[in-house]
Symmetry: C2
Subunit: 187 residues, 2 copies
DNA sequence: GATTCCATGTAAACTGTTACATGATTCC
DNA sequence: GGAATCATGTAACAGTTTACATGGAATC
């Protein structure tokens, strides 16, 4: 499981409080490993109990006060171990693909608006990634860290590019469809 | 929540027993919505209790005997409703991308073999999809159901193509790397 | 002092995974 | 009749999601 390692990575990049982490999981790290604030607080508690992170000594607050964490050597070692370990890729799970497969059986009625909406969402995400690329990875720079992070961003860009193209392709199929199959109802 | 709808789709395509469904979730439907036999049996029980499916009247067996299900009209209606309803796309969660982001901080030591292994796995999956395309979608055929199912298969092919290209790109970066960053250890 | 926002959390419900249990059938 | 396989499940746990709770700080 990867949430603790996502948090360790984020904290190594920059020590943060729970809410700051939550914000960064809404962009940046969250682009390929999302998490809610509830997950993050729970996991911070576990990681601290395991001695992988600690509260920054400068701030030792009460409930409701900001509390920032940093990674301890044991945490960095655990992250390095996990990064190098072998992990099987998780099988794909995509509801839109499932819905189209279902539509082949029960009919395509009503699905087109959501295809358009998804297309817009993916176009927006793609534009955001491109903007990050323009801003953070200007041509010429190539420290190793930059190259690795750029590689990850390229994956996001290429994936969103795939989805926008595929959704456009799907919508094109729809406008060509003669009648709606399967919409004759049960029986 | 999509597992019940994946099962309804599979049962509409062909009434099946739990084990037959499990087999089909290891290929076909499972290529974009995977499930284990435990999930499937639990969900079959729920769907039957809700009146969306029923045991085929021809076979009413005891424990350990094969038991095939079919979809009832209410089940078909629920699937059509779900297919047409609006759903937000789930955010991406990919451990390999996270690992590369972590590698930018803790170093790339040891990650290359698993990149190669993933490349092989994705190449194998891509070959399998292409074989299915060759077998099931010869040029010329285009009933609406076929076109929808082909569209879904194309998504699988394009996604695996993306991953193989991206992993090759990642490995190329690695062979060019001068020194291993971050591997100087904690501090 | 009421409302809103910041920040940290708890609880419960739901999903998914791993390990195990049980009966029926087939094959030697 | 013993072992392997088919087929259907149960139980326990881990991970995720949703709803709610609590306290402090800022603002009106």
């Amino acid at each position: 499981m990867s949430l603790p390692h996502a948090i360790l990575t984020a904290l190594l990049e920059k020590p943060s409080s729970g809410l700051e982490l939550t914000r960064r999981f809404d962009r940046s790290i969250g682009y390929f490993w999302s998490a809610t604030h509830q997950q993050i607080y729970r996991e911070l508690g576990k990681l601290e109990a395991e001695g992988l992170i600690r509260v920054l000594p400068s701030e030792q607050p009460a409930r409701g006060q900001k509390k920032a964490y940093e990674v301890l050597p044991a945490g960095r070692a655990e992250l390095a171990r996990w990064t190098a370990a072998s992990h099987d890729p998780r099988p794909l799970r995509d509801a839109m693909l499932l819905r189209l497969r279902a539509a082949a059986v029960v009919g395509t009625d009503g699905i087109e608006p959501d295809l358009r909406r998804h297309l817009e969402l993916h176009e927006r995400q793609l534009a955001e990634y491109r903007e990050i690329e323009r801003r953070d990875f200007p041509p010429g720079r190539d420290s190793t860290e930059d190259r690795l992070r750029h590689l990850v961003l390229r994956a996001g860009i290429d994936l969103e590019t795939f989805w926008t193209e595929w959704l456009r392709h799907a919508l094109a199929e729809f406008t060509e469809l003669p009648g709606q199959p399967g919409s004759a109802g049960p029986g």
